[in-house]
């Protein structure tokens, strides 16, 4: 069978792009306060970097795929900052939602949501707010913003558009080789 190459061709593009638009890369890399991995969050204008970082953790906890690096989740959640900049109600939806989650985490675990070490414990906190507008909006958005990234598709063995390759007639539409003889 023709298998799909599932290696990432995406690498750290998102981080570097984020860093370049904020401050010179060298400055970021040598700064004690901001690790290069966090530069994308410092980019945010309407939402605080801490909120963005927690939102990333929330996104990973809602749809955890261990084969996907953070970059895909960052691409998925970053547009919330732009939407928050345009619409104060979106800004408070996200900020207040994250604040409530952090408060619940502190009440239970004495640390903010993103610092709760086990996913299973964070999922319990998410479960408590599952019915909230914040959770539903973030989850509903992720279904498209995460899974509709073309860079994500090969990681799931999905090849996307095929017509320009002549379809699958000569590319394995019927190449299954492990079935018991009918």
């Amino acid at each position: 069978m023709r298998e799909v190459d599932r290696r990432s061709k995406h690498s750290r593009r998102v981080f570097l792009k984020g860093a370049a638009t904020a401050v010179p890369v060298v400055a970021v890399a040598t700064s004690a306060a901001v690790r290069i991995e966090d530069a994308w969050a410092e980019d945010a204008s309407a939402l605080s970097p801490a909120t963005m970082k927690t939102l990333l953790k929330v996104a990973r906890d809602i749809y955890p795929h261990d084969v996907l690096g953070d970059s895909y989740y960052i691409t998925a959640i970053k547009p919330w900052d732009g939407k928050a900049a345009k619409d104060p109600s979106v800004k408070s939806l996200i900020s207040d939602g994250i604040a409530r989650l952090d408060q619940n985490a502190r009440d239970r675990h004495k640390v903010a949501y993103a610092e709760v070490p086990w996913e299973a414990d964070r999922v319990v906190l998410l479960k408590e707010i599952e019915g909230s507008d914040f959770f539903q909006k973030v989850r509903g958005d992720l279904i498209v913003s995460l899974y509709n990234q073309k860079e994500v598709w090969p990681r799931f063995g999905y090849e996307g558009s095929s017509a320009e390759h002549g379809g699958y007639i000569n590319r394995g539409f019927a190449d299954i080789d492990w079935l018991p003889k009918a």
């Binding site: 989850r139 279904i143 063995g157 999905y158 007639i169």
Partner: protein, 522 residues
């Protein structure tokens, strides 16, 4: 290409250009009848279709406002999207799968066969299979249906091979790559299927029959057919004698136009067709046009549906190749011993990763959900489609609040599953999982119904005017020169996919209309 005057009252105006309207338009044009088709959506040719689920959805789907109610899960998960159908020239024949099956004899006689089912508004069709057979034959020839007219079946893809192996292990007998209106070899000026996948996103190669690039250009070539895209029908008008006189529609610029007509045929799919009749209410017809029976909008059917996806140890890549070229027909017969009347088909189905995420279990999250998606390349899938019970309370009404951009009330879609539908779905999920378990599935996922693709029954045929909206030719009982030409004519839904029957009825209706025009009956 023909261009008819708005005041030309000799034309037949057809609302909609899909399986019903597009076919009727061409058939009439071939007979020398002048036709104007009003199509609400734009004209998008097949080379402009895109192999991308969400992008294609934006390009083709009917996303104008609709409202929903009832206990069906679609009302909760997709409250504004009761149906996944198309707003473009070619209608839903652009995104249909191509499965082209004839009704079984008993499926035209459901009242006689099933008897009194509490809550079901069953009625026999005023036509029989014997009467329909020659029209089915014409439809199969027109559409180039595989395994008819000497056309070979399509080759089976990986998803089919899994289905077939499981079905055979389970002892099912009638298993093949389907009766598909998709060319397995070049025919009618169109090439053979290239196994592209993305059948639901519009067939870029044109191997799949769609009125967009078959019926419509053929009709236009006669000089008797004019198709007006981006023309949304608003109201059908009538004279003091109760005959329809034309259709008011919003053109591409949003301006209101009035096309006069000798005959009007409504083919806007089973949600918009009753909506148009209801929105055409007048002093003479206060409950809506053609609605003396009160049945306009009622008996909305959407088929008993569901899917089963199964994950295996090794790769399947189900998305490669023709989406629905695979069927098990052993459960299609009526066998009430199973605990329900009617039957269902099991057909291969695949959706891409983006739609799998949206439809596998809407609203779900966390590890159980992502674990299922991680299995995507090792997944096989089938669609379950069976007869659902017509119920008077499942209906299309005019929403009392929400209006479209032209100020017209939008359609509100109410649906509750009948106990028979639920019993059938439970059985179908079990059998679907058994098919895959038989060849080593490690997990199976019974997946809930998607927004409706088969919308049927809301202007149903009946022998007696009090029981339905149209007669056996789709002609309104109340208004002689008003016809219904889409799946909303269906008296019952049958187990199989509806398009072949819609096309067969449209060919037959064209014959009837042309004859009646010649005899000056209408």
């Amino acid at each position: 290409m023909a261009k008819f005057d708005l005041n030309d009252s000799s034309v037949v105006v057809i609302v909609g250009s899909g399986a019903g309207g597009g076919t009727l338009g061409n058939e009439l044009a071939q007979k020398g009848v002048k036709v104007v088709i009003l199509e609400a959506g734009p004209r998008i040719e097949n080379h402009d279709f895109v192999n991308d689920e969400w992008e294609s959805f934006s390009q083709l789907a009917w996303t104008d406002a609709r409202t929903t109610s009832g206990t069906w899960r679609v009302a909760k998960d997709f409250s504004g999207l009761p149906a996944w159908i198309v707003k473009a020239v070619g209608g839903s024949t652009t995104h249909w799968a191509g499965a082209s099956l004839r009704f079984d004899e008993h499926e035209f006689k459901v009242k006689t066969t099933y008897g009194n089912i509490p809550g079901a508004n069953l009625l026999d069709w005023p036509v029989t299979l014997a009467e329909m057979e020659p029209w089915y034959a014409k439809a199969e020839d027109k559409m180039g249906v595989t395994r008819t007219n000497g056309i070979p079946g399509l080759p089976g893809n990986n998803n089919f091979k899994v289905l077939e192996a499981g079905a055979k292990k389970l002892g099912y007998k009638t298993v093949h790559t389907g009766n598909m209106a998709i060319n397995s070899q070049p025919r009618d000026g169109r090439g053979a299927c290239q196994q592209i996948g993305f059948c639901f996103q519009g067939c870029k190669s044109g191997a799949k029959w769609s009125t967009l690039y078959t019926e419509i250009p053929k009709g236009e070539a006669t000089g008797n057919l004019e198709v007006r895209p981006s023309s949304m029908a608003i109201k059908i008008e009538h004279d003091a004698g109760g005959k329809v006189t034309g259709v008011v529609y919003a053109d591409a610029s949003g301006a209101m136009q009035r096309q006069k007509a000798r005959i009007v045929a409504v083919a806007g799919n089973s949600i918009e067709s009753p909506r148009l009749l209801l929105n055409s209410a007048s002093t003479m017809f206060p409950d809506g046009l053609a609605n003396s029976s009160g049945q306009v909008g009622r008996n909305y059917m959407r088929h008993m549906t569901g899917s089963v996806y199964a994950v295996f140890e090794k790769s399947v890549h189900m998305y490669r190749g023709t989406t629905m070229a695979g069927i098990i027909r052993d459960e299609a017969a009526n066998n009430p011993k199973r605990g329900f009347v009617g039957g269902y088909e099991m057909e291969t189905l695949s959706i891409g990763l983006p739609f799998m995420a949206a439809f596998l279990n809407p609203g779900a999250w966390g590890r159980p959900f992502t674990s299922a998606l991680d299995g995507y390349p090792r997944m096989a899938g089938m669609w379950l489609v069976g007869e659902d019970m017509p119920q008077e309370t499942n209906r299309i009404t005019l929403d009392p609040v929400v209006k479209d951009k032209f100020g017209q009330p939008v359609a509100s879609v109410h649906f509750d599953d009948h106990p028979n539908d639920i019993a059938m779905r439970t059985h179908a999920y079990k059998q679907g999982a058994a098919v895959y378990d038989a060849v080593g599935a490690t997990v199976t996922y019974p997946t809930p119904p998607y927004p409706s693709t088969h919308n049927l029954g809301t202007n149903r045929m009946s022998e007696k005017p009090r029981d339905g909206v149209v007669n056996k030719f789709g002609q309104s009982h109340d208004v002689k020169n008003l016809f219904v030409s889409d799946g909303s004519q269906f008296t019952s839904g049958a187990a199989c996919n509806p398009t072949l029957t819609i096309v067969a009825l449209a060919i037959r209706q064209a014959d009837y209309i042309a004859g009646a025009m010649q005899k000056r009956e209408i």
